[in-house]
Amino acid sequence: MKRTFGVLVVVVVLLVSGARVVAHHAFSADYDENKLVTLKGTVTKIEWTNPHARFFVDAVGEDKTVTNWSLELASPNSLTREGWARGTLNVGDVVTVTGYAAKSAKNMASTRSVTMADGRALFGGTQGIQ
Protein backbone atom coordinates (compact mmCIF):
# COMPACT_ATOMS: atom_id res chain seq x y z
CA MET A 1 0.00 0.00 0.00
CA LYS A 2 2.83 2.35 0.94
CA ARG A 3 4.51 1.70 -2.38
CA THR A 4 1.26 2.29 -4.25
CA PHE A 5 0.87 5.59 -2.43
CA GLY A 6 4.42 6.49 -3.36
CA VAL A 7 3.65 5.80 -7.01
CA LEU A 8 0.45 7.84 -6.68
CA VAL A 9 2.34 10.83 -5.29
CA VAL A 10 4.95 10.64 -8.00
CA VAL A 11 2.40 10.24 -10.80
CA VAL A 12 0.35 13.15 -9.42
CA VAL A 13 3.41 15.37 -9.33
CA LEU A 14 4.26 14.36 -12.89
CA LEU A 15 0.74 14.95 -14.19
CA VAL A 16 0.33 18.20 -12.33
CA SER A 17 3.59 19.65 -13.52
CA GLY A 18 2.66 18.73 -17.10
CA ALA A 19 6.27 17.78 -17.62
CA ARG A 20 7.68 15.42 -20.14
CA VAL A 21 10.29 13.09 -18.74
CA VAL A 22 13.42 13.66 -20.78
CA ALA A 23 14.90 10.25 -21.51
CA HIS A 24 18.62 9.79 -21.00
CA HIS A 25 21.12 7.03 -21.17
CA ALA A 26 20.55 3.53 -20.05
CA PHE A 27 19.22 3.47 -16.51
CA SER A 28 19.36 -0.29 -16.25
CA ALA A 29 23.12 -0.52 -16.69
CA ASP A 30 23.61 1.45 -13.47
CA TYR A 31 20.55 0.88 -11.28
CA ASP A 32 18.27 -1.98 -10.25
CA GLU A 33 14.61 -1.10 -10.73
CA ASN A 34 13.62 -3.98 -8.46
CA LYS A 35 15.51 -2.52 -5.50
CA LEU A 36 13.62 0.50 -4.24
CA VAL A 37 15.19 2.06 -1.16
CA THR A 38 13.82 4.68 1.22
CA LEU A 39 16.08 6.96 3.24
CA LYS A 40 15.54 9.78 5.64
CA GLY A 41 18.22 12.25 6.57
CA THR A 42 19.90 15.60 6.08
CA VAL A 43 21.21 16.99 2.80
CA THR A 44 24.99 17.51 3.01
CA LYS A 45 25.92 18.51 -0.55
CA ILE A 46 24.32 19.32 -3.90
CA GLU A 47 25.95 19.15 -7.33
CA TRP A 48 23.78 21.07 -9.78
CA THR A 49 25.54 19.66 -12.87
CA ASN A 50 25.01 17.83 -16.11
CA PRO A 51 24.30 15.21 -17.20
CA HIS A 52 22.80 14.41 -13.79
CA ALA A 53 22.40 16.63 -10.78
CA ARG A 54 23.36 14.83 -7.59
CA PHE A 55 22.82 15.35 -3.90
CA PHE A 56 24.20 13.67 -0.82
CA VAL A 57 22.27 12.78 2.32
CA ASP A 58 23.40 11.68 5.78
CA ALA A 59 20.81 8.94 6.14
CA VAL A 60 19.98 7.63 9.60
CA GLY A 61 19.52 3.87 9.76
CA GLU A 62 17.29 1.92 12.10
CA ASP A 63 20.30 1.28 14.33
CA LYS A 64 20.91 5.04 14.49
CA THR A 65 24.10 4.81 12.40
CA VAL A 66 24.59 7.54 9.82
CA THR A 67 25.60 6.70 6.27
CA ASN A 68 26.24 9.24 3.53
CA TRP A 69 24.30 8.36 0.36
CA SER A 70 24.93 9.66 -3.15
CA LEU A 71 21.64 10.27 -4.94
CA GLU A 72 21.35 10.90 -8.64
CA LEU A 73 18.72 13.24 -10.07
CA ALA A 74 17.77 14.15 -13.64
CA SER A 75 19.70 16.90 -15.42
CA PRO A 76 19.20 20.44 -14.08
CA ASN A 77 17.31 21.25 -17.29
CA SER A 78 14.89 18.36 -16.82
CA LEU A 79 14.41 19.22 -13.15
CA THR A 80 13.76 22.86 -14.01
CA ARG A 81 11.13 21.88 -16.53
CA GLU A 82 9.52 19.70 -13.88
CA GLY A 83 9.26 22.45 -11.32
CA TRP A 84 12.59 22.44 -9.46
CA ALA A 85 14.66 25.56 -9.03
CA ARG A 86 18.19 25.81 -7.74
CA GLY A 87 16.93 26.70 -4.28
CA THR A 88 14.35 23.91 -4.08
CA LEU A 89 16.79 21.65 -2.27
CA ASN A 90 19.32 23.06 0.18
CA VAL A 91 22.12 21.77 2.35
CA GLY A 92 20.65 21.14 5.77
CA ASP A 93 17.17 20.17 4.52
CA VAL A 94 15.68 17.10 6.17
CA VAL A 95 14.24 14.92 3.41
CA THR A 96 12.79 11.51 2.73
CA VAL A 97 14.09 10.01 -0.48
CA THR A 98 13.01 6.99 -2.50
CA GLY A 99 15.18 5.64 -5.27
CA TYR A 100 16.51 2.63 -7.13
CA ALA A 101 19.73 1.21 -5.72
CA ALA A 102 22.96 1.15 -7.72
CA LYS A 103 23.83 -2.25 -9.11
CA SER A 104 27.38 -2.17 -7.85
CA ALA A 105 28.30 0.95 -5.91
CA LYS A 106 27.31 1.14 -2.27
CA ASN A 107 25.08 3.84 -0.81
CA MET A 108 24.06 5.16 -4.19
CA ALA A 109 20.64 5.38 -5.84
CA SER A 110 18.71 6.94 -8.69
CA THR A 111 16.15 9.26 -7.12
CA ARG A 112 12.46 8.69 -7.65
CA SER A 113 11.02 11.13 -5.14
CA VAL A 114 12.20 13.67 -2.62
CA THR A 115 9.76 14.65 0.10
CA MET A 116 10.57 17.88 1.89
CA ALA A 117 9.94 18.55 5.57
CA ASP A 118 6.85 20.56 4.62
CA GLY A 119 5.38 17.56 2.82
CA ARG A 120 6.01 18.68 -0.77
CA ALA A 121 7.03 15.74 -2.94
CA LEU A 122 9.13 16.23 -6.06
CA PHE A 123 10.01 13.78 -8.79
CA GLY A 124 13.74 13.05 -8.93
CA GLY A 125 13.87 12.13 -12.58
CA THR A 126 14.74 8.46 -12.38
CA GLN A 127 13.95 6.44 -15.47
CA GLY A 128 13.15 3.49 -13.25
CA ILE A 129 9.49 4.42 -12.78
CA GLN A 130 7.28 1.82 -14.41
Binding site: V22, A23, A85, S104
Partner: protein, 258 residues
Protein backbone atom coordinates in the same frame (compact mmCIF):
# COMPACT_ATOMS: atom_id res chain seq x y z
CA UNK B 1 -0.09 -3.80 -14.57
CA UNK B 2 -3.81 -3.47 -13.92
CA UNK B 3 -3.14 -2.23 -10.39
CA UNK B 4 -0.76 0.38 -11.79
CA UNK B 5 -3.35 1.54 -14.32
CA UNK B 6 -5.82 1.90 -11.48
CA UNK B 7 -3.32 4.00 -9.58
CA UNK B 8 -2.69 6.19 -12.61
CA UNK B 9 -6.45 6.64 -13.13
CA UNK B 10 -6.80 7.69 -9.50
CA UNK B 11 -3.85 10.02 -9.92
CA UNK B 12 -5.43 11.66 -12.95
CA UNK B 13 -8.56 12.37 -10.98
CA UNK B 14 -6.60 13.82 -8.09
CA UNK B 15 -4.39 15.82 -10.46
CA UNK B 16 -7.46 17.46 -11.91
CA UNK B 17 -8.44 18.64 -8.44
CA UNK B 18 -5.10 20.03 -7.32
CA UNK B 19 -3.69 21.19 -10.67
CA UNK B 20 -4.34 24.90 -10.04
CA UNK B 21 -2.45 25.08 -6.78
CA UNK B 22 0.69 23.56 -8.22
CA UNK B 23 1.22 26.11 -10.97
CA UNK B 24 3.47 27.90 -8.50
CA UNK B 25 5.93 25.02 -8.92
CA UNK B 26 6.45 25.83 -12.60
CA UNK B 27 9.73 27.57 -13.19
CA UNK B 28 10.06 30.26 -15.83
CA UNK B 29 13.60 29.21 -16.64
CA UNK B 30 13.80 27.33 -19.90
CA UNK B 31 10.33 28.52 -20.75
CA UNK B 32 11.19 31.91 -22.24
CA UNK B 33 10.70 33.80 -19.01
CA UNK B 34 6.94 33.31 -18.81
CA UNK B 35 4.36 30.56 -18.52
CA UNK B 36 3.63 28.50 -21.64
CA UNK B 37 1.45 30.55 -24.00
CA UNK B 38 -1.84 29.15 -25.26
CA UNK B 39 -1.03 27.97 -28.76
CA UNK B 40 -3.10 26.03 -31.27
CA UNK B 41 -0.76 23.23 -32.32
CA UNK B 42 -3.10 22.37 -35.21
CA UNK B 43 -3.00 25.94 -36.55
CA UNK B 44 -1.64 26.84 -39.98
CA UNK B 45 2.01 26.44 -41.02
CA UNK B 46 3.79 29.80 -40.56
CA UNK B 47 5.68 31.28 -43.50
CA UNK B 48 8.61 33.65 -43.97
CA UNK B 49 8.02 36.91 -45.92
CA UNK B 50 8.98 35.23 -49.21
CA UNK B 51 6.58 32.34 -48.68
CA UNK B 52 9.16 29.77 -47.51
CA UNK B 53 8.00 27.57 -44.65
CA UNK B 54 9.11 28.95 -41.28
CA UNK B 55 10.59 26.07 -39.29
CA UNK B 56 11.00 28.21 -36.17
CA UNK B 57 10.10 27.10 -32.67
CA UNK B 58 11.49 24.78 -30.00
CA UNK B 59 10.92 21.15 -30.99
CA UNK B 60 11.27 17.76 -29.32
CA UNK B 61 11.20 14.40 -31.06
CA UNK B 62 11.78 13.72 -34.73
CA UNK B 63 14.14 10.75 -34.41
CA UNK B 64 14.59 7.37 -32.73
CA UNK B 65 15.51 7.10 -29.06
CA UNK B 66 15.29 3.61 -27.64
CA UNK B 67 14.76 1.41 -30.69
CA UNK B 68 14.71 2.43 -34.35
CA UNK B 69 12.81 -0.75 -35.24
CA UNK B 70 9.91 -0.24 -32.82
CA UNK B 71 9.74 3.54 -33.02
CA UNK B 72 10.04 3.45 -36.81
CA UNK B 73 7.09 1.05 -36.83
CA UNK B 74 9.04 -1.72 -38.52
CA UNK B 75 8.04 -5.34 -38.00
CA UNK B 76 10.64 -7.33 -36.06
CA UNK B 77 13.39 -8.27 -38.49
CA UNK B 78 12.11 -5.94 -41.20
CA UNK B 79 15.11 -3.60 -41.05
CA UNK B 80 17.47 -5.20 -43.62
CA UNK B 81 20.64 -5.60 -41.56
CA UNK B 82 23.53 -7.41 -43.18
CA UNK B 83 24.59 -10.48 -41.14
CA UNK B 84 27.68 -8.83 -39.60
CA UNK B 85 25.60 -5.79 -38.64
CA UNK B 86 22.94 -7.99 -37.01
CA UNK B 87 25.67 -9.65 -34.94
CA UNK B 88 26.95 -6.25 -33.84
CA UNK B 89 23.44 -5.09 -32.91
CA UNK B 90 22.83 -8.23 -30.85
CA UNK B 91 26.14 -7.92 -29.03
CA UNK B 92 25.87 -4.26 -28.01
CA UNK B 93 25.04 -3.34 -24.42
CA UNK B 94 24.11 0.01 -22.85
CA UNK B 95 27.55 0.28 -21.21
CA UNK B 96 29.05 0.85 -24.65
CA UNK B 97 26.69 3.53 -25.98
CA UNK B 98 28.86 6.53 -27.02
CA UNK B 99 25.98 8.91 -26.21
CA UNK B 100 26.24 7.89 -22.54
CA UNK B 101 29.80 9.19 -22.61
CA UNK B 102 28.72 12.58 -23.96
CA UNK B 103 29.40 11.91 -27.62
CA UNK B 104 26.95 13.03 -30.35
CA UNK B 105 24.01 10.90 -31.42
CA UNK B 106 24.40 11.72 -35.12
CA UNK B 107 21.56 11.51 -37.61
CA UNK B 108 18.64 10.86 -37.16
CA UNK B 109 18.86 10.07 -33.42
CA UNK B 110 19.99 13.55 -32.32
CA UNK B 111 16.46 14.86 -32.91
CA UNK B 112 15.11 13.18 -29.81
CA UNK B 113 13.70 14.05 -26.45
CA UNK B 114 15.95 17.03 -25.80
CA UNK B 115 14.72 20.33 -27.25
CA UNK B 116 16.21 21.60 -30.47
CA UNK B 117 15.69 24.31 -33.05
CA UNK B 118 16.02 25.00 -36.76
CA UNK B 119 17.63 28.35 -37.52
CA UNK B 120 17.14 29.53 -41.10
CA UNK B 121 19.71 32.11 -42.24
CA UNK B 122 19.02 34.58 -43.70
CA UNK B 123 15.26 34.95 -43.58
CA UNK B 124 14.89 38.17 -45.57
CA UNK B 125 16.02 36.33 -48.68
CA UNK B 126 16.75 32.74 -49.71
CA UNK B 127 18.64 30.90 -46.97
CA UNK B 128 22.29 29.97 -47.50
CA UNK B 129 22.50 28.01 -44.25
CA UNK B 130 20.12 26.22 -41.95
CA UNK B 131 21.44 25.30 -38.52
CA UNK B 132 20.02 22.76 -36.10
CA UNK B 133 20.78 23.70 -32.51
CA UNK B 134 20.69 20.80 -30.07
CA UNK B 135 20.27 21.19 -26.32
CA UNK B 136 21.67 17.68 -25.75
CA UNK B 137 23.15 15.15 -25.76
CA UNK B 138 25.45 16.85 -26.71
CA UNK B 139 24.99 20.61 -26.65
CA UNK B 140 25.99 21.20 -30.22
CA UNK B 141 24.78 22.12 -33.68
CA UNK B 142 24.54 20.79 -37.18
CA UNK B 143 24.79 22.89 -40.32
CA UNK B 144 22.96 22.44 -43.60
CA UNK B 145 24.50 24.17 -46.64
CA UNK B 146 21.54 25.23 -48.75
CA UNK B 147 21.78 24.78 -52.51
CA UNK B 148 25.28 23.36 -52.23
CA UNK B 149 27.02 20.09 -53.12
CA UNK B 150 29.07 17.54 -51.18
CA UNK B 151 32.87 17.59 -51.33
CA UNK B 152 34.42 14.65 -53.17
CA UNK B 153 36.01 13.08 -50.10
CA UNK B 154 34.60 14.49 -46.89
CA UNK B 155 36.31 13.79 -43.58
CA UNK B 156 34.09 11.45 -41.55
CA UNK B 157 32.32 13.37 -38.81
CA UNK B 158 29.59 12.73 -36.24
CA UNK B 159 26.96 14.77 -38.09
CA UNK B 160 28.31 14.36 -41.64
CA UNK B 161 28.25 16.93 -44.46
CA UNK B 162 24.72 18.15 -45.21
CA UNK B 163 23.28 19.96 -48.20
CA UNK B 164 19.70 21.10 -48.36
CA UNK B 165 17.02 22.30 -50.75
CA UNK B 166 13.30 23.02 -50.62
CA UNK B 167 10.86 20.85 -52.54
CA UNK B 168 7.69 22.86 -52.15
CA UNK B 169 7.03 22.94 -48.42
CA UNK B 170 9.48 20.13 -47.62
CA UNK B 171 13.09 20.71 -46.61
CA UNK B 172 15.20 17.92 -48.09
CA UNK B 173 18.55 17.34 -46.37
CA UNK B 174 21.09 15.03 -48.01
CA UNK B 175 24.00 13.95 -45.82
CA UNK B 176 27.16 11.92 -46.41
CA UNK B 177 30.55 11.85 -44.73
CA UNK B 178 29.49 10.30 -41.43
CA UNK B 179 31.87 8.50 -39.13
CA UNK B 180 30.73 5.09 -37.89
CA UNK B 181 30.93 5.91 -34.19
CA UNK B 182 27.39 6.83 -33.16
CA UNK B 183 24.51 4.42 -32.63
CA UNK B 184 21.16 4.90 -34.36
CA UNK B 185 19.38 4.15 -31.07
CA UNK B 186 20.00 2.92 -27.50
CA UNK B 187 19.58 -0.61 -28.72
CA UNK B 188 22.68 -0.16 -30.88
CA UNK B 189 21.75 -0.33 -34.57
CA UNK B 190 25.11 0.15 -36.34
CA UNK B 191 26.22 1.80 -39.57
CA UNK B 192 29.39 2.39 -41.59
CA UNK B 193 31.14 5.39 -43.18
CA UNK B 194 29.14 4.60 -46.31
CA UNK B 195 26.03 5.96 -44.58
CA UNK B 196 23.97 8.36 -46.66
CA UNK B 197 20.81 9.83 -45.15
CA UNK B 198 17.97 11.72 -46.78
CA UNK B 199 15.67 13.63 -44.46
CA UNK B 200 12.46 15.19 -45.70
CA UNK B 201 11.18 17.65 -43.10
CA UNK B 202 7.60 18.77 -43.54
CA UNK B 203 5.83 21.06 -41.10
CA UNK B 204 2.33 19.59 -41.20
CA UNK B 205 0.72 22.26 -39.04
CA UNK B 206 1.83 24.78 -36.47
CA UNK B 207 2.81 22.23 -33.86
CA UNK B 208 3.95 19.14 -35.79
CA UNK B 209 6.95 18.48 -37.96
CA UNK B 210 7.42 15.19 -39.81
CA UNK B 211 10.90 13.84 -40.52
CA UNK B 212 10.73 11.19 -43.22
CA UNK B 213 14.23 9.71 -43.08
CA UNK B 214 15.84 7.26 -45.49
CA UNK B 215 18.86 5.33 -44.29
CA UNK B 216 21.01 4.20 -47.18
CA UNK B 217 24.13 2.32 -46.03
CA UNK B 218 25.19 -0.56 -48.28
CA UNK B 219 27.96 -1.33 -45.79
CA UNK B 220 25.49 -2.40 -43.09
CA UNK B 221 22.05 -2.75 -44.71
CA UNK B 222 21.10 -4.67 -47.85
CA UNK B 223 18.84 -1.87 -49.15
CA UNK B 224 17.72 1.63 -48.13
CA UNK B 225 14.82 1.83 -45.70
CA UNK B 226 12.55 4.72 -44.80
CA UNK B 227 10.38 5.73 -41.90
CA UNK B 228 8.85 8.88 -40.43
CA UNK B 229 9.33 10.40 -37.00
CA UNK B 230 7.29 13.38 -35.81
CA UNK B 231 8.60 16.32 -33.80
CA UNK B 232 6.25 18.32 -31.58
CA UNK B 233 6.45 22.02 -30.87
CA UNK B 234 7.06 23.03 -27.23
CA UNK B 235 5.50 26.50 -26.97
CA UNK B 236 7.22 28.77 -24.51
CA UNK B 237 10.20 26.45 -24.03
CA UNK B 238 13.76 27.51 -24.82
CA UNK B 239 16.92 25.48 -25.34
CA UNK B 240 18.95 25.47 -22.13
CA UNK B 241 22.68 24.99 -21.77
CA UNK B 242 23.72 21.38 -21.19
CA UNK B 243 27.41 20.62 -20.82
CA UNK B 244 27.28 16.83 -20.62
CA UNK B 245 30.92 16.23 -19.75
CA UNK B 246 31.08 18.50 -16.69
CA UNK B 247 30.19 15.72 -14.24
CA UNK B 248 29.38 12.50 -16.07
CA UNK B 249 29.26 9.60 -13.62
CA UNK B 250 27.75 7.03 -15.96
CA UNK B 251 29.02 3.60 -15.03
CA UNK B 252 30.07 4.38 -11.46
CA UNK B 253 26.79 3.10 -10.00
CA UNK B 254 26.89 0.05 -12.27
CA UNK B 255 30.52 -0.71 -11.48
CA UNK B 256 31.77 -0.71 -15.07
CA UNK B 257 33.66 2.53 -14.81
CA UNK B 258 35.92 3.85 -12.07
Amino acid sequence: MRKRLGVIAMAAAVAGLIGASSSALMSAQGRGGGSAPKVDLSGPVPKLPDGTVDLGGTWTGGGPVQDMEAQGKFKPGEIPLLPWAKKVLDSRTPEQDPHAFCMPMGVPRQAGNYPWRFVQYPTHKQATHIFLLWEANIHSFRQIFMGSTHPANPDPTWFGHSVGAWEGGTLVIDTVGFNDKFWFDRRGHPHTEQLHTIERWTRKDFGHLDNQVTIDDPGAYSRPFTTTYTATLQPGDEIMEYICNENNNYGIAGGFRQ
